[in-house]
Amino acid sequence: MSESSTMDGPGGPDRRRRLARLAYGAFVGGVMGFTLTALALQWLGTAAPATLTLFQGIALIITAATGAIGGIMVAMSFSRRLYNIENQSDESDPEEYGDAAPLLRFAGTGLLATAVQFAALALPPERGAGDIVLPLIMAALLVQLWANWQLWQRSDELRRAVTLEGAAIALAAIILIISLWAPLAIYGHVGFDPLAVVIVITLANLVPSLWITHRRGL
């Protein structure tokens, strides 16, 4: 049990503070997610999601989620006030913000690059200009690689352990899913959409990482 939760009780101050933080995060994330999705739909030139394929819709949801979370992380990295709202605990250290800010900035930048990547992938190929979209996706991938490398370099042993644990689960999940998917697609039972492959790989990476990050108390 974490130190902060040892003071937790039904309706206790710690519980109320955590609920307030959750409500604040949900509100900010919801507003940012809605805005990003609306902008992405506008960019696609349609207000009717029915014209999108299932995978394009999922790509837009990933765009909104990673864009909102990444945006909040980058904003916190530049604002001590925002960071303190999100990270108040009895053990919080005034100097902690200085150490946490670069980590938040690089993690948020990586997520924002993922949002750009998926927004570009969601663009229907027949309507998208390959000359713009393809370099944009390549640039987003390079930014992700750079941000992840910077994050790894600045991480301590707990963050590195969380990264490695998430990566191991992601690899196992991806091998299983693709190994099942390939024969089913070869024999014509399911389709094999390249966008779906990227979505599966991304979700197989993001979901375990978030779960382990929470489980390890980060």
Binding site: M1, S2, E3, D93, A100, D156, R159, R216, L218
Partner: protein
């Protein structure tokens, strides 16, 4: 793995941040170790024990017992 990190740290009058600075990790790592959410590496365990002035086996206890032969 159970540990006495919090009790010994508080007895020393250090915050989590102070112990984190002295051991070269983040406060979240110390918090995760104290909360039994993360087992530290051997070097970190040894650094904590040295700073708190106790043997590692006093700081961290494992309930595992070897099976009796025979």
């Amino acid at each position: 793995m159970q540990n006495q990190l919090k009790a010994l740290r508080v007895a020393k009058g250090w915050s989590q941040g102070e112990l984190a600075r002295r051991t070269g990790v983040t406060r979240q790592t110390i918090n995760a170790v104290e909360g039994d959410k993360y087992d530290p590496s051997l070097p970190l365990a040894m650094r904590c024990a040295r700073l708190l002035g106790v043997p590692v086996e006093t700081l961290f206890t494992d309930i595992w017992e070897p099976e009796e032969e025979g």
